[in-house]
């Protein structure tokens, strides 16, 4: 049986492109939705839809069953289009020439998109190593000798985890120093890569703890806004900390949040709704 898993922004799009890849119509397949897509909030928590498309055996035009079975058993995901075209050639080429053309286009697409990440990964490695070195040098000059850096990449994000005895010193007051290091590291990273990268640096789970305290702060301030019936302005924060607060308060119906001012003085204002 021929199966294909396809990911796309929505379920409809995933099905459509899966059908195109397989070169079959909707009637010839069984569709199983593996994952419903999620739009997310401010680009946060976006999830792609995933469908599993199974071609039904009996409805498939099969003039040479023996050959078809062999190719089916050996095929892999990326080979779908290529193998499919000789099998479906005889019955379909006359009626619907454009369908045959599309799968072969898709084959080219897949191959190209496979090649691009390879080059990207290579570039990325350079950028990450350079950035890591930069952070190490900087920390050493600040008098931190026992720094250990690990990193992971996730799309355009590069996450660095730092470990040191003097974590507090690296973080600074309200993460000032850490944010400064992060900002400079991002500049260095983007100097090397062509693709835009976002560098995130965390020391000893500081970000996670900060996120929790921000959420608590957000709730407290929201309560105050409701109680006093006045707007509550928070102190200026970098964009991702503001996002944490917006996000935390997005479910509350009794207040609304917005940001005022220009970076680096941009701050959140919480307003009660009457």
């Amino acid at each position: 049986m021929k199966q294909l898993t396809q990911r796309a922004a929505t379920v409809e799009l995933a099905i459509e492109s899966a059908l195109q890849d397989l070169g079959v119509t909707k009637e010839q397949v069984e569709i199983q939705v593996v994952e419903n897509g999620r739009k997310g909030f401010l680009g946060f928590g976006v999830k792609q839809a995933e469908v599993l498309v199974t071609v039904l055996e009996k409805s498939k035009p099969d003039p040479k069953p023996a050959i078809a079975r062999v190719t089916e058993s050996t095929q892999t995901f990326t080979d779908d289009g290529e193998i499919l075209s000789p099998v479906t050639k005889a019955p379909q080429v006359v009626q619907q020439p454009h369908i045959k053309a599309k799968p072969s286009e898709n084959v080219v697409d897949i191959k190209e998109s496979e090649r691009v990440p390879e080059a990207k990964i290579y570039n990325e490695k350079d950028a990450i190593e350079e950035t890591k070195q930069y952070i190490e040098d900087m920390a050493k000059e600040m008098g931190i000798e026992d720094l250990v850096i690990t990193y992971e990449t996730k799309g355009k994000y590069i996450n660095f985890q730092l470990e040191s005895e003097k974590a507090a010193f690296l973080i600074g007051k309200r993460g000032q120093t850490l944010n400064a290091i992060q900002q400079l590291a991002q500049l260095v990273a983007n100097k090397v890569t062509k693709q835009f990268k976002i560098v995130r640096i965390d020391v000893a789970d500081y970000r996670e703890r900060r996120e929790q305290s921000l959420e608590q702060l957000a709730d407290r301030m929201a309560d105050r806004a409701v109680r006093t019936k006045r707007q509550v302005a928070l102190e200026p924060m970098p964009s991702y900390e503001r996002k944490v607060i917006h996000n935390a308060l997005s479910l509350r119906l009794d207040i609304e949040t917005f940001s005022e001012g220009k970076d680096p003085y941009r701050h959140i204002v919480i307003k009660g709704i009457e």
Partner: protein
């Protein structure tokens, strides 16, 4: 200290050889004067002085552990 400023600034600019740091000790404070190639001025200052602010944050926090005097960072043009 000088070394720290150079470590921070050099990878950011296009002309690392033109990065220069002078220090001037006064009674109450130490002033570090940073000069870079004219073309790199924008890079070390940044949009709204963002990069300059980040550099200063790191320099000031490191200064606490270095000596008792107050530290200033000037960027010369």
């Amino acid at each position: 200290m000088k070394q720290l400023i150079e470590t921070i600034v050099k990878p950011l600019v296009d002309y690392p050889d033109d990065v220069n740091v002078l220090s001037e000790e006064q009674s109450q404070r130490v002033v570090y004067q940073l000069s870079v190639n004219a073309e790199d001025m924008g890079k070390v200052i940044g949009k709204q002085g963002r990069v300059a602010k980040a550099i200063r944050t790191i320099v000031y926090s490191a200064a606490g552990s270095h000596h008792g005097k107050k530290v200033y960072l000037d960027i010369l043009d």
